[in-house]
């Protein structure tokens, strides 16, 4: 059963990893993916993340169940923040644990590809000059990345 949290607060990847692995002798590998807010060459003061409460949790749970069906996972944690996030701050954490590395890597990458294209979050740019910039466009590359999982 995956741990899923949608929150404003920052997260602690080390504490989340410890929560999954402490006292266990069956986990051989964890992969922790962290997505950060970039400043886009100094242009951005922040990203604003809007989400659809209720659906965000449900959709991530659905993607996580799919990952757990595909790979022999011993733990799966997804934390996605919303609100105003400054450059250098973390936005999303996907943490996958398994006996062996391949499953952990693949599950984490699968989760991220699906989160990018199916989880109901939208990013808007806040600019250094004080203006609220454009909504970030969805990337064709993200759709292509999702589709390779069949």
């Amino acid at each position: 059963m995956a741990i899923i949290r949608i929150q404003v607060e920052a997260f602690d990847a080390a504490a989340e990893t410890a929560a999954l692995t402490t006292g266990r002798g069956d986990i051989g590998a964890t992969v922790a993916f962290t997505g950060f807010c970039r400043d886009e060459g100094g242009r951005l003061s922040a990203l604003e993340l809007e989400h659809y409460p209720g659906m965000a949790e449900a959709e991530i749970a659905c993607i996580a169940s799919e990952a757990e069906a595909r790979w022999p996972l011993l733990g799966l944690t997804v934390i996605h923040r919303y609100g105003l996030i400054r450059p250098g701050e973390p936005i999303v954490l996907v943490l996958a644990a398994s006996a062996h590395r391949r499953a952990a890597f693949e599950a984490a990458e699968f989760m991220m590809d699906y989160l990018k294209t199916r989880a109901p979050f939208w990013k808007r740019e806040h600019l250094k000059d004080g203006n609220v910039g454009a909504w970030v466009d969805a990337k064709g590359a993200d759709d292509a990345a999702m589709e390779r999982w069949g």
Binding site: G35, E50, Y52, L115, K116, P120, D137
Partner: protein, 83 residues
């Protein structure tokens, strides 16, 4: 029927949500979008490129041809950019 809007769809419609009585004959998401576009410029603007706007019924992604029968909440939003 409760409708909810997100991101630039929300901004263009000018509200986060609304509850509307739908007329007879609106069976699918595509029917609903067609009808919303008759309700004012703000909807026309939000749905000017219908192929771009995504929909969810009761928190599940659906296609334009999906039936809205029994839906409690229908959401419209741009392509997702999370992660």
């Amino acid at each position: 029927m409760k409708l909810v809007y997100f991101a630039w769809v929300r901004e263009r419609v000018g509200k986060t949500d609304e509850t509307l009585d739908l007329p007879e004959g609106i069976a699918t998401i595509a029917d609903l979008v067609r009808w919303l576009k008759t309700r004012g410029e703000e909807y026309e603007y939000a749905f000017e490129n219908e192929a771009i706007v995504r929909a969810a019924i009761d928190h599940q992604h659906v296609k334009p041809e999906a039936s809205i029968a029994g839906a409690r909440e229908i959401a419209f939003f741009p392509p997702m950019t999370g992660g």
